[in-house]
Subunit: 202 residues, 2 copies
């Protein structure tokens, strides 16, 4: 090609990033070529830094320690656990500032089309955690998709089959309804049905 | 924030990339967190590689040598020079496989709104190059924008003021017309006027 090898290599690397094609990768490289060697060094160091990131041995969140800061936090309610698919979802919930419980990161959702089986996500770890702790409530905070629903169904069935677990743990799920700015006219039937069922006193 | 420092640092770095907001930057970092240390090492090395990239001392293109491979190529026509704004434009022209001349990369366009003055782009270097070589034709291949037009006007005026230069150098510009798939009905008046003026025998 017409690019020097060093440029081409970096374009190839950026092209592998999610949602990034060769055009955007090229833009990134030309952006970096205008930067000082110090800026490149800073980016390189930041990249190296993520090699220090572990998976929290309790909840599966990313952490720079063996146990993440949320699981270590004594002020949080460790009897309530939100079951989420990815660490990004944890960030979304934390941003609300309203949730005081802890988390369990599944690392994905059951997805038959993408060949993601229950064994590939952290369901076994969740059951072990439930058995070895005094968790009272499990809040399913998963995507409102077929994959999310399948995962909820699969896990709740497992728990309901276990008499000890099902007697001590309350299973809940986040509400479905109109999002902020959502227009009733354009809402689908399922959302609207769930929104009606989930109506609250004013 | 809720992110470990190492993750946050890298999100901040990616957020500076062109067209990338915090959400996309976060996606990149989570993508990289799933990669092996070897993959991260490969990306780090590619990043370091671009520190070896120079600006070609003849045309201003990026190169891993002092003079780029196009300027060194004896099979190319060094009497024809395409004036372009950025190295990306060079790549676009090279991809056609039709151009056998060389280039002059201005490193931008004159842009009064963005405070980009003629002194900030490589116009002086172009004039020196024209004086010290046997260039016969200058093809302006700039964006069809006000900035592109201003830059063409500025440079051609400088050349026309110089009797020796203007007598030996032919000044041309790439055609304006309907792009592939362009519909006549929706073409603007200027494009259509230029397309009519530039009509060719069949």
């Amino acid at each position: 090609m017409f690019y020097p090898k060093d440029i081409k290599n970096l374009i190839d690397e950026f092209s592998k990033f999610p949602g990034i094609g060769p055009k955007s990768a090229q833009r990134f490289v030309f952006y970096l070529l205008r930067k000082s060697p110090e800026d490149i060094e800073k980016l390189t160091l930041s990249l190296k830094g993520i090699k220090n990131i572990h998976i929290c041995s309790v909840c599966g969140n990313f952490s720079d320690q063996n146990i993440c800061s949320i699981c270590q936090d004594k002020n949080r309610d460790h009897s309530v656990v939100a079951v989420i698919a990815e660490p990004q979802d944890l960030m979304a919930i934390e941003k609300t500032g309203e949730y005081q419980g802890t988390y369990h990161v599944l690392g994905g959702l059951i997805d038959m089309i993408e060949n993601k089986s229950p064994e590939q996500i952290k369901i076994k770890e969740l059951l072990i955690r439930l058995k070895n702790s005094s968790i009272k409530e499990l809040i399913f905070a998963l995507n409102a998709t077929i994959e999310g629903e399948s995962t909820i169904l699969y896990i709740t069935n497992l728990i309901k089959e276990d008499k000890i677990l099902s007697s001590k743990i309350k299973l809940t799920r986040i509400a479905r309804g109109l999002p902020l700015g959502g227009e009733l006219e354009y809402a689908d039937e399922i959302t609207l049905t769930e929104a009606l069922k989930g109506r609250r006193g004013i």
